[in-house]
Symmetry: C2
Subunit: 711 residues, 2 copies
């Protein structure tokens, strides 16, 4: 693994802190290396012994004669720093610090972690942990690890790599995969991540030729942008990245904060990130194994039309329900398909989708079964199929396994099997299915979800390959120069000017100092009359807005009134004047905005305006920057999308203009991320042609808070 | 089982259609009865043999000398009717018809099923099936069954009974439970349900003293009201009824229609029914076993506050996330609890919730662990707890099992364990947990869902016991006499009169024939002016509504206009006049209605009015009749509930009045279910005090369509 060669393929490992007590972490590491037959050299370190398990035991790490690739450190917390100093002297490139008592445990621990890191940085030592289960390279029998990572059952070799911020739960996922017959490449528990974080490891695994799929458990998102980028790299490399995100609810995030002191990040932003990077999210233990099996079959559905067949009608219905809930639909077979099936199944069976072979059919005549399954998979409308064995007899399962093995050899479409028999009762069939790389799952619901996951991944791949969404690299016209200097809230006029310079349409506005300034003939009523002041962020709250003003008299009265209200209710505010906006009629009100989030950076949010936002929480978000395809995808997530498309006889509204506005907004926010802390366009009025910002508020960081990251 | 004693506890079984081919259904039945040691007498029937498996074989069923309790029939379809005739002669009370080729297979089969049923009815024979896997009483080794019901693994005895409309999928659920160590009482596959349906069996199981929990797979809801009633009886008896509903999506329902030709029913109505009957819905195979295990522990949380403890921080976070998503929350410990825990766990652990024991703690000191777990469960804020063993060493698991066994003996609170080790690696611990009836699940998410299910069940029980919701039995004032004779749509005036007679508030209306009739002084503008005609259901569509009419001139013009529009655009309509309604201002518009559904009977629906209904699908429904508590529960499901409660500085609206309106509506619809096919109140305006029907439409069945079911 690039940058980590000596960590994962060491020639020599020093294990510091071995002890007569076999339960001590370092003892566990050393015993595991010996028991599992690590091919390199192992050097126990403890000044109290001269020999340990038949090996020469050194008093300190720098007493070892040869070069050391990895020091595994399992001494109590207060003894770790001298060992790191020894590593520095010895020029050890990697230290895996198993010991706890650092950042996770109070002020003293935090100080200790800082100190350790300073020494390591100075000496070019990269640190895994502290407070971690360690790392393992299953292909090379490298176990710089302890605890559940070194206890039975021993993991088999394979192409799945695991990176986890929680040792115990991460290994739980690993065991679920192992039980499902999945083998491993590297297993990495990152602990406190004083130095190397989960994202850096995931990024390196993307380039590891022996890793095909990456599974991760992540709580803290201190490098959310890094995850976005390495997710995209993984997608580009065709390596599925499957992530369980912990700490996604209030209670979960609070628990995570005390667990690792990491920033968990807002879940809706996180899900947007996953979507934009093609990261597959899991929320159940069995999904880890199910999805890895699905990906390992290396067959992807071209679309979301599925077929289901078997002898159990109920299982087919359950599959159909789960498929539709997962965004799949049952394919409609061609006439020819039905004819081919009819020729080989009993008359009381069903030749449409679901195909009902009838009871007793499976296992009775392999050739007929093969013809029927071929017919289903040959149908152009079918993108993937589920074969329900359900509770078929073991012998029938075995026959089906042989038939399906030969059928899948001739197709690129995914084929899954639902089998309800306990493993011990269907061992022969399971072994055949395993050789043929046909995933067998114990529930039709799980089959449907696995197929849907493959379909989503395929869609993410295609979107990535179209590279339409180059919004993330393209520069927006004028965006970089759009924002004035200074800090704090911009007035509505200034805010709209920034948007306009970025290419976003705004309402036509005139600023007057008083009623005397008005040239009514130059205006197109109805008008909105609004107080203009950078000091008044919420104009309505102080009676600073009058709508639907139509006559010169009404206008004069309105101007006088908002000025009077401002003097009365916001006496401290510097009033710059009164804004006369031409009101846009006949559109639907969205709100669009940007939050410059501490974890994710600029995030664009769009939603139905007014009370709908709060009551129905009808919003969608994406990490900036992005292009118009992503923006359209956002709009597709809104409940009010139906209104945009024209409902109940209303005209269709200009979805393309909204998408362009959101993409431009994302560019503006991204290029000025060091300056802009918030943008609110409320409302963004969508018309049959065009979308116009009718009110806007931009809040800049306090002057001087901008860092060098702005482009 | 009441009414089914001779079916489930037979002394003698005739098996018709045994054959030298052991695969034939009847052969399977007979071999199973012999192999599993059925204690009664078994009589094979086939005219071709005089002896079968060492037993005397009879040419026909009526040739058997002794009384027969159950005839199991496995002959080909066309041979079934003569056998049923033999049963009639022999006065056999129950026939289990395994054979297919009936209602599920075309016109001939449908006719055959009718004919069979007619003979059976005339001879008082109750029929299970046809086209079914049969029934089994696991306690008495009765297997009137074949196929997967008689294949290994053999089910153990226990107190779970299963009723399934799909043999294959039902047995899949049974195997999942069996694998989890759950034993069975009766297993019943109902097939085509020509005579006895799933609901009748479930109803009988409610009274079976050897059944504690009922699990069902249901596709067809031909007796939805029966399910509602027997669900309530099960709740009353304290027997959890766990149901998987198949055919809940378009694709699933279509598949079910061809599978069993049953009416699947609308899923939202079905979920309302489940909720009203305290039925536990499952949608995954493992949930069957998880929930049965949870119920078998016979401990119910008093509330939804949970605790989580263990050595794996990640597992605790995952649990916290899943708990909150399932409607549970992490409890806040009392000071005393934290103090007690602090005394027995390492300083680097966490004494709040989640409790972090730190790695290596479990298994090190049983007494300390016991004190810590006691402290958690003793906390008054804690209703249930999850103990994460995750990937603890087998020996630690065993120690924890012993400790938790003694702790749970002293509490009534539910305690669940998450364990990730493969069964073979933790056999000793699992056996201890099993003896102590402590559920162990392989995912913290599944633990959270199981606890949430127990909490929901407990809530349903309490609601049922409060018996507030006697709406279903109470008679509504005047409801029974509220509806005029005749059929078709009632006019707005007639519709509102019906509502008013039922106790529902309506707007104050005046009917005039023309502008000349108006006494403006007697009205309180603003007014709504609406054409009045039973022939015009959608008044707005023909320009038949003018709103916000304020002056005598406006009123005259409006009356003339709606009359003119009706003459022009609905020339055939009989116009009864013009309705002047006093407009209700300042309220929030809901819509409320009744659908007299073919499957569920009258269902009451409430939702946010206007475009919100369509766009955000913000509706809730319940099966009529019901009381105000149920109505309030419905309102709690609405997104717009936040508006009713007063949001953004608006006043709170009269939720109690809406609840009363819905309950009255449900009474009206129930008592007149033979007459009323539809009610629409749109809008129902909710005010700070009161709720008023501002427009209403009632559609009656065509005259004479009413049946005798009206009370």
């Amino acid at each position: 693994m690039k940058g980590f060669e000596r960590l994962f393929e060491p020639q020599s490992i020093a294990v510091v802190g071995v002890s007569d007590d076999p339960v001590r972490p370092a003892s566990q590491t050393l015993h595991t290396l010996l028991r599992y037959g690590f091919g390199g050299r192992v050097h126990p370190v403890n000044p109290r012994y001269s020999e340990y398990e038949g090996l020469r035991c050194y008093p300190t790490i720098d007493a070892i004669e040869e070069d050391i690739d990895v020091a595994v450190i399992g001494v109590p917390a207060r003894g770790v720093i001298p060992v790191i100093e020894g590593c520095a002297k010895k020029r050890v490139p990697f230290a895996v610090v198993l010991s706890g008592g650092f950042g996770e445990s109070g002020a003293e621990g935090i100080e200790r972690q800082k100190q350790m890191l300073a020494i390591a940085r100075a000496a070019n030592i990269r640190i895994v942990g502290p407070n971690c289960l360690g790392i393992a390279n299953i292909h090379r029998d490298v176990y710089a690890a302890f605890g559940s990572m070194t206890r039975p059952p021993r993991l088999e070799r394979g192409s799945l790599s695991l990176v986890t911020q929680s040792g115990g739960f991460g290994v739980s996922l690993a065991l679920a995969c192992a039980t499902a017959g999945i083998g491993f490449r590297n297993v990495i528990a990152t602990g406190n991540e004083a130095d190397i974080g989960a994202v850096e490891f995931i990024d390196a695994l993307v380039d590891d030729p022996e890793t095909d799929i990456i599974l991760a458990y992540i709580e803290g998102l201190n490098d959310a942008r890094g995850l976005l980028e390495c997710g995209r790299r993984a997608l580009h490399a065709g390596k599925p990245l499957i992530v369980w995100k912990g700490g996604v609810t209030d209670d979960g995030a609070r628990a995570a904060a005390t667990h690792t002191a990491n920033l968990t990040g807002r879940y809706d932003y996180c899900r947007a990130l996953f979507r934009q990077a093609g990261i597959i999210e899991i929320t159940e233990v069995h999904e880890a194994a199910d999805f890895v099996k699905a990906f390992q079959a290396r067959r992807f559905p071209r679309g979301r039309q599925v077929a289901v067949m078997g002898g159990s009608g109920g299982s087919a219905i359950v599959f159909a329900d789960a498929a539709q809930k997962s965004g799949l639909r049952l394919a409609t077979f061609a006439e020819d398909t039905r004819r081919r099936i009819a020729e080989v199944i009993p008359a009381i069976g069903a030749v449409h989708n679901p195909v009902d072979f009838t009871a007793g059919y499976i296992g009775a005549d392999d050739e007929k079964l093969s013809t029927a399954v071929h017919a289903v998979l040959d149908d152009a409308a079918v993108d993937a199929a589920c074969f329900n064995l359900a509770t078929s007899a073991a012998s029938a399962c075995h026959a089906a396994a042989r038939v399906l093995t030969s059928v899948v050899a001739g197709t690129t479409k995914p084929l899954f099997v639902f089998l309800a028999l306990p493993e011990s009762d269907a061992a022969a069939a399971l072994s055949v299915f395993r050789s043929a790389n046909i995933p067998v799952l114990p529930s039709p619901v799980r089959v449907a979800r696995a197929i849907a996951t493959l379909a989503s991944y395929r869609e993410a791949l295609e979107q990535h390959r179209r590279a339409d969404d180059v919004g993330r690299s393209a520069s927006a016209a004028g965006a970089a120069e759009a924002v004035p200097s200074g800090g704090g809230a911009l007035s509505e006029v200034e805010s709209k000017a920034v948007l306009q310079r970025s290419g976003i349409a705004v309402t036509r506005d005139v600023v007057v100092r008083s009623a005397a300034d008005v040239d009514f003939a130059a205006l197109s009523p109805p008008l909105a009359v609004k107080i203009l002041s950078s000091d008044i962020a919420h104009k309505t709250d102080i009676g600073g807005v009058k709508l639907d003003v139509r006559t010169p008299d009404e206008l004069r009265a309105a101007i006088d009134e908002v000025l009077a209200n401002a003097r009365l209710l916001a006496p401290q505010a510097r009033v710059e004047g009164v804004l006369l906006s031409e009101m846009v009629k006949g559109g639907f009100e969205l709100l669009a905005g940007v939050v410059n989030d501490v974890v994710f950076g600029p995030v664009v949010v769009v939603g139905a305006g007014g009370i709908n936002t709060e009551v129905f929480r009808d919003t969608a978000c994406r990490i900036a920057p992005f292009g118009e395809e992503t923006a359209r995808e956002m709009l597709g997530e809104l409940g009010c999308r139906r209104i945009l498309d024209g409902t109940r006889g209303r005209p269709a509204l200009d979805v393309a203009a909204v998408a362009r506005t959101l993409a431009l907004l994302s560019q503006l926010a991204w290029h000025n991320r060091a300056r802009i802390s918030e943008i609110d366009i409320n409302p963004l009025i969508v018309l049959p042609s065009g979308a116009v910002a009718a009110d806007a508020l931009i809040i800049l960081n306090a002057a001087g808070e901008g860092d060098a990251s702005a482009e």
